[in-house]
């Protein structure tokens, strides 16, 4: 089959999709299915790797190679797949528990190494599969099965963690905005190096409406901002709000008030290596700020880890006289017994 002609349906597997009706995972699946034919990879060259969690069932539903690992280890398994064969297009599917609780270390080390895989973090701020315990992204105070009196923990911001680990790509989208999700996933896939895409995902069963504030259609546009590289940071139903920088902090301003015009606003520079501003943008939270969606950070990475590994091997191989076990075993100090 010609790659050009592949359609989203071609990437659907024959497995029955088993998420709860109304779960945000369904929408993410369809966003991914839409993106896949546009990547320019054949089925057989795409691999989906996941851990354990509701979200981690994802690979079963895509008609590519897939690996449903153990809890928290998707990042490590995917690192092995990609460095073993850099020609593959590798996706990691993980949840806020899988990727940031038990898998947190592999997450930051994947990002640090900058291996060219595309990670999609299904953030529903809850452990779905195990039926509703709080996760490292649960809002402080969340009442869950293991926090009947409310959690006492500060949540992680996945963007913060990514940027803190020297991440070169971070983007955010919402399950209920599938078109935008597809666009972002395409940009993520294009990025050479590790791309992290956080999808705010609703778990209807155990954490319904955790993102209600910012997904509610009536108020949504006043509470989120879509960042686009090179464009000023304007948002609001009436495009009347903006973000400004003062005293090394971001401030929400009203256009027109106090003589503020769009010239005064921050212009989004997703490409700068200086991550201070990306950190501030990624950490913005409602109600003090709008929540940033879109590609927040997308630096050129010099070269991804998997490519550097191959390059180094070829360079050494080229220079060495040892090209077989026979060469090696007979190199250096040997002696003959006659």
């Amino acid at each position: 089959m010609d790659i050009e002609q592949l359609k989203p349906e071609d990437f659907k597997s024959d497995q029955m999709v088993r998420w709860c009706a109304g779960c945000g995972d369904h929408a993410i699946l369809s966003s991914v299915l839409k993106a896949l034919p546009q990547l320019g990879y054949k089925h057989e060259d795409v691999v989906f790797v996941s851990g354990i969690g509701c979200s981690s069932r994802f690979p079963y539903y895509v008609n590519t190679y897939g690996f449903h690992g153990i809890h928290g280890r998707a990042m490590a398994v995917a690192s092995g797949v990609k460095t073993s064969n850099p020609n593959l297009c590798v996706f990691v599917i993980t949840g806020d528990g899988d990727g940031l609780a038990i898998g947190g270390n592999h997450f930051i080390h994947l990002v640090r190494r900058d291996i060219d895989v595309n990670l999609i973090l299904f953030n529903n701020r809850i452990y779905g599969l195990t039926k509703g315990q709080y996760s490292p992204t649960s809002k402080q105070g969340s009442v869950t099965k293991t926090s009947p009196f409310g959690t006492i923990e500060q949540p992680f911001k996945p963007g913060g963690i990514t940027i803190g680990a020297n991440g070169t790509f971070f983007a955010r989208t919402i399950d209920s905005m599938p078109k935008i999700s597809t666009e972002i996933l395409l940009e993520a896939a294009k990025h050479k190096g590790t791309s992290i895409t956080e999808v705010l995902q609703n778990c209807v069963i155990y954490n319904d409406m955790t993102f209600g504030d910012i997904t509610d259609r009536d108020n949504r546009d006043d509470r989120i901002i879509m960042l686009k590289h090179g464009e000023p940071m304007i948002y609001g139903k009436n495009q009347d709000k903006g973000l400004m920088m003062k005293d090394n902090q971001i401030h929400v301003v009203k256009l027109g008030e106090n003589g503020i015009s769009d010239k005064d606003l921050l212009v989004h520079d997703a490409h700068t290596e200086f991550a201070g501003i990306h950190l501030l943008l990624a950490n913005m939270d409602y109600p003090n700020f709008p929540v940033a969606l879109g590609v927040i950070r997308a630096c050129e990475s010099a070269k991804s880890y998997d490519v550097k590994m191959t390059d180094q091997i070829e360079a050494v191989h080229g220079k060495s006289k040892i090209h077989s076990m026979h060469d090696l075993m007979h190199s250096g100090s040997t002696w003959e017994v006659k």
């Binding site: 057989e44 449903h68 092995g80 090696l328």
Partner: protein
């Protein structure tokens, strides 16, 4: 080289070089042992590093030793006790005196035996009074001062000059055992190619040590150890870690697969990773992971992607890998896990040897999770068993745990470089390109092995995972009967590996009453003890196990031929227990040591004789 003293021919000698961590004893020992090997002796060596953290200079904790055992006959161990102890300071004496033979020689650097050092070593008075040196020949040599004297005009600073004193000691011992000096000199020339002054300094000191020994009348004779009757061929010296690395590389070459090692450093296994990391010329991929779990998981990913994937570790790391080994069991992917055992439990005795991870290797995972377990038994056959581990892993699509230990890992011996053509083929059960209706969990009826479809192969897209798999299709299945079926299939699949492994063989007397049973790294000591006991006229046999799970098919038959079975291990009896489980039809006696050290031949012969008697 001419010399006057009487030359005595002897069969074998063990020499222990020992001094402070900074005294270069490992190098001294290595040069001596390489020279002996080049000369044609059979050789076995073992370094005795201090515990991981450096202890203050001059203290017992900081002593570094290196024992070389060489001979005209076959040498299977580095020797329990030494004929010569070279002690560069009082701490070296303190740490090693117990290992000197009653009629041995101690050569010591008398310049270092000052009050301060004697105290640091923990002696209260004259060391040679505190220790019972009756019968021992003491050679007091002013090694430090003579080294200074020898190099006073060469143009080196004092510190660098003193760094050469190990070569003075090497010179003395070289004269004593009639070893040529060329190899060491050649080594200096390569090593210090860019610093000719160091070539000159080391060479000079080495010769001066040699002449010193020849000149002083301390030695009434020197000794000659004739070359051993060694199989013809090209040899090199190899230690267990290097042999493991090379065995896996050889397997990758034969199987025409890329070798991938995801690993995390841990003593005493790190050497394997280091060896592999150096072999980019052979396109080996090493991935130094953030921890042991990531080490094995990257390897599982690489295995899924079609590499020959391995991961290397020691006991605590194997504990961390347990969960992921189960993943490889469930996904039925080839994977080799090397565990270089060390003293436990917990961090335990990280630089010491032990055989206490056997049960962990067999059972350290949740669920019914069988994997193949094999163990190598000499530094150089680590090559063969690493090769076999890879072959079994690939051909049977299963994880294989290879057990070595700190003793094998660091011990060296001459190794006849093999011809890889003599090694068995490795057949990769890859899916044929055009297979129609391929099923991920369809199996070879003989071996129960499934086939391997590698990402990038069109038409074979499939999904593996850690949930129970439906037989044949490989989809997720919660069907009760399927789980029972799969549990048995996974078990049988490993049992069937027994068909591919050689029968258990015995060494010694077929008609003996007593069979000594060992496994893994104790072979050298057991076979030496066996030889000694037999030399004394006793009948006894030895069965050394390399294949642990499954056991060789003739195991019960072999064990059944002997009246008494004595299982010797460096732990509290794990293999004996395991044999009880597998072959409850026999009673087993046990002999165990657990001191962080190899067996001594002496302890073993005593135990054997005792068991012969009662």
């Amino acid at each position: 080289m001419s010399k006057q003293a009487k030359v005595i021919e002897i069969e074998e000698v063990a020499i222990r070089f020992s001094g402070d961590s900074g005294d270069g004893m490992q190098l001294t020992g290595t040069l001596f042992s390489d020279t002996s090997a080049l000369y044609g002796n059979d050789v076995s060596t073992f370094p005795d590093y201090p515990a991981e953290i450096r202890a203050p200079q001059g203290t017992v904790g900081g002593v570094s030793g290196f024992q070389v055992h060489f001979g005209h006959t076959q040498i299977n161990t580095p020797g329990d006790y030494c004929d010569v102890l070279v002690a560069m300071n009082p701490a070296a004496l303190k740490a090693n005196f117990r290992w000197v033979k009653p009629d041995g020689i101690i050569i010591y650097d008398v310049d270092q035996f000052d009050a301060k050092n004697i105290e640091k070593a923990g002696y209260k008075s004259d060391p040679f009074e505190e220790e019972d040196v009756t019968g021992i020949q003491l050679i007091s040599a002013p090694i430090s001062n003579l080294t200074k004297e020898s190099l006073k005009d060469i143009g080196l600073d004092q510190k660098s000059i003193l760094r050469c004193k190990n070569m003075f000691a090497l010179g003395i011992v070289s004269w004593l055992y009639d070893r040529p000096l060329e190899h060491a000199v050649k080594f200096f020339n390569t090593k210090f190619a860019k610093k000719p002054i160091l070539v000159e300094a080391n060479t000079k000191v080495l010769y001066d040590g040699y002449y010193y020994a020849e000149t002083i009348e301390a030695f009434t004779s020197n000794f000659k150890v004739k070359p051993a009757d060694i199989e013809k061929g090209v040899y090199r010296s190899i230690n267990g870690n290097q042999a493991v690395a090379w065995g896996m590389m050889a397997a990758a070459e034969k199987a025409d697969l890329q070798l991938f090692c995801g690993s995390y450093p841990i003593t005493p296994a790190t050497g394997i990773l280091e060896e592999l990391a150096a072999r980019k010329d052979l396109r080996v991929k090493t991935f130094q992971a953030e921890d042991e779990i990531a080490g094995i998981c990257t390897s599982i990913g690489a295995s899924f992607a079609g590499s020959l994937a391995v991961t290397t570790t020691s006991g605590p790391g194997l504990a961390l890998k347990g969960e992921a080994i189960g993943l490889a069991v469930m996904t039925e992917l080839p994977l080799v896990i090397v565990d270089v055992q060390r003293g436990g439990p917990s961090t335990g005795l990280p630089t010491k040897t032990e055989q206490s991870d056997l049960m962990q290797a067999l059972y350290g995972r949740n669920g019914e999770s069988p994997v193949v377990v094999i163990a190598s038994s000499t530094p150089s056959n680590c090559f063969d068993y690493a090769y076999m581990a890879c072959k079994i892993a690939v051909e049977h699509m299963t994880p294989v745990i290879l057990l070595t230990d700190g003793f094998l890992a660091n011990g060296t011996e001459p190794w006849k470089i093999p011809d890889l053509n003599d090694f068995p083929e490795i057949k990769v059960p890859r899916v044929e390109r055009d297979t129609k209706n391929w099923q991920p969990y369809a199996r070879d009826p003989e071996t129960l092995t499934r086939t391997w479809a590698i990402p990038g192969t069109p038409g074979m897209e499939h999904r593996l995972g850690s949930l129970e798999k439906m037989n044949i299709t490989g989809t997720v299945s919660y069907v009760p009967e399927n789980h029972e079926l799969m549990s048995h299939i996974r078990d049988q699949k490993i049992q069937k590996v027994a068909k591919d492994i050689p029968p258990l063989e015995i060494v010694g007397d077929e008609d003996a009453d007593l069979l000594i049973i060992g496994w893994g790294g104790t072979y050298g000591h057991l076979v030496t003890a066996l030889t000694e006991v037999r030399r004394e006229g006793h009948k006894v046999a030895l069965a050394q196990f390399n294949y642990i799970f499954p056991l060789p098919s003739n195991t019960s038959e072999v064990l059944g031929r002997f009246k008494k079975l004595l299982v010797c291990e460096i732990n509290l009896g794990q293999f004996a227990n395991y044999l009880r489980m597998q072959h409850p039809e026999y009673p087993y006696r046990k002999f165990n040591k657990i001191m962080g050290l190899p067996f001594t031949v002496k302890d073993l012969t005593e135990a054997i004789v005792k068991n012969l008697e009662d």
